[in-house]
Subunit: 325 residues, 2 copies
Amino acid sequence: MHLPIILTGDRTTGPLHLGHYVGSLQARVRLQHTHDQYLLLADTQALTDNMGTPQKVSDNVLEVTFDYLAAGIDPRKSTIFVQSQIPELAELSMLLLNLVSVSRLERNPTIKAEIALRGFERDIPAGFLVYPVAQAADITAFKATLVPVGDDQLPMIEQTNELVRKFNTLVNKEVLVECKALLSQVTRLPGIDGNAIALGASPDEIKKAVKQMYTDCNHLRIDDPGEIDGNVVFSMLDAFEQDRVMLAELKAKYRRGGLGDGVLKRRLEDHLQELLAPIRERRQLFAADRQEVLAILKQGTDRARETAARTVGEVKRALGLNYFE
Amino acid sequence: MHLPIILTGDRTTGPLHLGHYVGSLQARVRLQHTHDQYLLLADTQALTDNMGTPQKVSDNVLEVTFDYLAAGIDPRKSTIFVQSQIPELAELSMLLLNLVSVSRLERNPTIKAEIALRGFERDIPAGFLVYPVAQAADITAFKATLVPVGDDQLPMIEQTNELVRKFNTLVNKEVLVECKALLSQVTRLPGIDGNAIALGASPDEIKKAVKQMYTDCNHLRIDDPGEIDGNVVFSMLDAFEQDRVMLAELKAKYRRGGLGDGVLKRRLEDHLQELLAPIRERRQLFAADRQEVLAILKQGTDRARETAARTVGEVKRALGLNYFE
């Protein structure tokens, strides 16, 4: 009866693209049949480093939902919900903040890397420094035991479990639940070239994106031997070519010389057009019915809020913050 | 019709004492007639440096409420509410955290002093570092324009107004309201001797506390000249002796010599017994009817939550986080 609980989701800073599809969406469509899957539209988390452009964040809540539904997420099987609409997540975040030191947060390798990446230095927004705690609140509020992550995000899981143990020890009760990383086995698409193809891209946009893909700059004539490593088109074929025998042959021929980029790109484009056509079609249908999608989101958010409120109720009760019960 | 809005309150770490009475409670009893006064029982703020002893914090919510009511706070005039029961305050805190940098928080003089005081050093809990932001959320959620503070807390007001300006500039709308410090003019009671007399202290406890009060350690015999400065009994008389002429005479006589500590202490004790007797009596009545007091708290909290929810609704709307409206 009780399926294992998964918490995953996306920051709502833009529509999803092919990289999301092979990196997470495909797996989620599978997992929703065997797991109790919560899909978080992380708008408040996105604000921690996009506070200057709040509309970008809020506008993309619906865009990402279109992508979810178009890719095959079934709202009867997965709970799609909006982070900002669940005040209990903020409550839990504020309480968990008391169980972690500033220096511990500053040592978080993911945060350190991201601070460097964004050039925040000492001007890091406080919301950004503490977002691993907010993430721990998201995970623990749903008592998720599985969190699909890349290996660069393992410190987040560790931070979450530290907080779980600290809280449970404090109240001397197993209120929160530890989680495990579900490491993704799928290929990461290379660079931004491949990733930049949105799930809702038009046939022309797909064609153009493939045309611009980097191959091997020394492969000037068809007869020249070509390089596979760092060749974006081959990396994309690794992800999308079902016929693995054919792919091995193509690679061998390319290395020897005698195989033109055009042939490869046409093959890749065919696969992408075929993959994205039905997704685009479904996406257009959902995008044309915003009210229906909002209703789906509302329903998921209500359901998620009930769960989160139950957990945060237990947390507050364990701390004695339940005066009116 | 619209009275100016005041936000004030207490961290719930213990029952209130004489120091609170002359430092703030007396003024609140007056202000409730001319102001729309919100009285915050700051249990979640108290947890930022008392997370190890949550029961101390939650137990004292009712204790402080007894003190409020016994001192003359009228729940029909003042809105007494519990911070942890208003999730919208946590929501607003989390949003405002994106508008302040970690280094700005670390520069806050009050926080710096308190970090040193508590010996936190680098192990400062994240919740403690960010509590000025939570305080800004408390103030702005009620659109309070007046916040009674000591001058050591002026940086808190400044931090709040910085956040107000940043937020309003960001959304290009006057959503939040700046506040002003209402500097208290009353005497601060000296040391812990005087402060340690709880509002609910028994006659014996009052007697004992006065007996133990420090006067002038060189004032050995009645005829010796005595020192007024640093003399706790005189500082207490400064706060509680209504007859200012008599007080001046007592001081003069004490300085010359010929006035014993016992006479002074009896006089002070009489004043304190007289002041605290009706407070203690009312406090006992309230403490005997916890259900009634809880109902008062619940009513105040519901009322406060409505106001906070309205403001946080405006905040979220201005950021575009109102998908389901």
